[in-house]
Amino acid sequence: MSIPLITTSRWNIEDGHTLEGYLRTGGYQGLRRALEMTPAQVHEEVKKASLLGRGGAGFPAGIKWGFLPPDVWPRYLVVNGDESEPGTYKDRLLIERDPHQLIEGCVITCFALGLSQCFLYVRGEMAHGQERIASALNEAYEHGYVGRNILGTELSVDVVLHWGAGAYIVGEETALIESLEGNRGMPRLKPPYFPASIGLYGKPTIVNNVETLSNIPWIVEHGGDAFAKIGAEQSTGTRIFAVSGHVRNPGVFEVEFGTTTFRDLIMGDQYAGGIRDGNTIKAFIPGGASAPWFFEEHLDTPLEKTTVDNEGSMLGSGAVVVMDETTDIVKACHNVVRFFSRESCGKCTPCREGTNWLEKILDRILNGYGRPEDIDLLLDVCDNISPGISWPPKQTTICPLGPSAVSPIASALKRYRSEFDAYITSNTDTPVTVNGGPA
């Protein structure tokens, strides 16, 4: 079935990132349409669209918007552009290649919800993205699409470009708010579960992902119903997936949400084109490094939120990482665990200590000093971070970062325990000192 490109339609247009290119291709029509409606009507369209958040948790945006308490002002919009989940590569492209679409989405959202100011938080490492969005904002201000009296109406909203400085955890929405307040980016204690009630400066705040907001102009222009017609019943519209790793044609693809399968995406000629060198698939990560791994038997699972949840993983941030038969599973597992260990913010003990020890134990196994009891030790530490090692994970921590480090270990051990055993039994040395202390 052919579907319209909603968020990536300008990626191949050379000047799609400029105001001229954007206007020529139908840009800012959603905003004009919104300004003819009442704010409540705009919100209603987004609810009808059943747009699921595209950042990782997949919470419906229209419902999240509805959590704003009445009569508490001012309210803020914070755009989460801190894309750092390993394997995830879409928000940067949306920022670089279609910044006006994102800006338009921000302004419409502020209009619909009465948000007085928008902060666009872009990951620090994305220098080019910051340049593109700064240029786009400068043009948009110049021509009255942002700022005071937008398009001659009473709508006055600033979109302020803010940027981070390198910390994965800041992608967690309350940590993002802390960072935006000038603090260390550590997640806030819950409840409240949603910054919609208490967020930036203690005020109601909507935090939405870049891709989520990039869908808003299309939804308002074409209507929520038109959006909901695309995709599956509960996973509507289109979604961007980045397929990387051992595939012939790694790439970033916008596909129909909920109906396309992993097999289409990984093996399909129009997408990633199959496994490289005619190899077979060993495992794949369906939704970013935090997600439990999938295997060959999951290939026919559709890219649909509920189905993937029920099969024991998540679509997360739309990052599919493919591993072929040549992959050393223990090394891959160590790589992902090391990531979480390094990026733990240190606020909660189970995560700070646990991820660190998981990395050290895996290090020891890889270096030939593994002990037979190390496998149980790994699982024991995992159980302390996420009791029961189940899915969805239970937490002993404020945010899901700690339990995320459990995913690769549980997955790898479930299917490829023999590879861990091989490292351990090939070890002939008995270490004199206990390995794994601080480096």
């Binding site: 009569d71 590569y89 600033d158 980016g185 990387s244 790694p250």
Partner: protein
């Protein structure tokens, strides 16, 4: 000299004017000082503390949390080699090993001429272009050993003019003319924005 110079102070005041609370400008101002000096110095942090009206210790507290802020010198060209999972699967460790041999320094050290330093970093969102790296936060995709060496040679000989010295992020800044500025939404303001009032909306 590592306080913000006059031009950067002007930019700093502009940035400060966009936030309802001054401390929100802390990270942008740390970037500005790193752009000026190539790193974040104690003196710069003291200056920023004055500007955002917090103690220097609070500035250090924030600064030390974030990977990009360097409180010690790095090479003029800081090479960040991605070792995220996608790059790992496609040979990131080989790139790191090659960098060490080619530059003659270990991870985190600076070459004798002060030009280069490198480190392995977590995913930089170019996963389909693995293995990749950034030089002063500019991407180099699908990098081979030969390409790495060519890159280093070009940077050394001044043949690559695209990449600014360490510290500079975006070469374009957001610029809001005062008559176009809606103004920050003050935290104390207790009334709904005007477009909601006129529409008699209560949501």
């Amino acid at each position: 000299m590592s306080r913000l110079n006059e031009e950067n102070l002007r930019i700093a005041r502009q940035i400060l004017s966009r936030y309802p609370k001054k401390k929100s400008a802390l990270i942008p101002l740390l970037h500005l000082s790193q752009e000026q000096n190539g790193m974040v110095t104690n003196e710069a942090m003291e200056h920023i503390a004055e500007l955002v009206e917090v103690t220097p210790a609070e500035v250090l507290g924030t600064c030390s949390f974030y990977e990009m802020f360097k409180r010690h010198p790095v090479g003029e060209y800081q090479i960040n080699i991605c070792h995220g999972i996608s790059c790992h699967l496609l040979g990131a460790e080989d790139v790191l090993e090659h960098a060490e041999k080619s530059l003659g320094v270990k991870e985190g050290e600076i070459t004798q001429d002060g030009k280069f330093s490198f480190e392995g970093v977590e995913c930089i969102a170019a996963c389909t272009e693995a293995p990749c790296l950034q030089v002063n936060y500019r991407y180099v995709n699908r990098v081979s050993s030969d390409e790495f060496d060519q890159l280093v040679t070009d940077l050394k000989n001044g043949q690559n003019t695209q990449i600014p010295k360490h510290g500079t992020l975006a070469k374009t800044r957001q610029n809001i003319q005062s008559e176009k500025l809606a103004g920050p939404a003050e935290v104390e303001s207790a009334s709904p924005p005007v477009w909601l009032q006129r529409n008699k909306e209560d949501q």
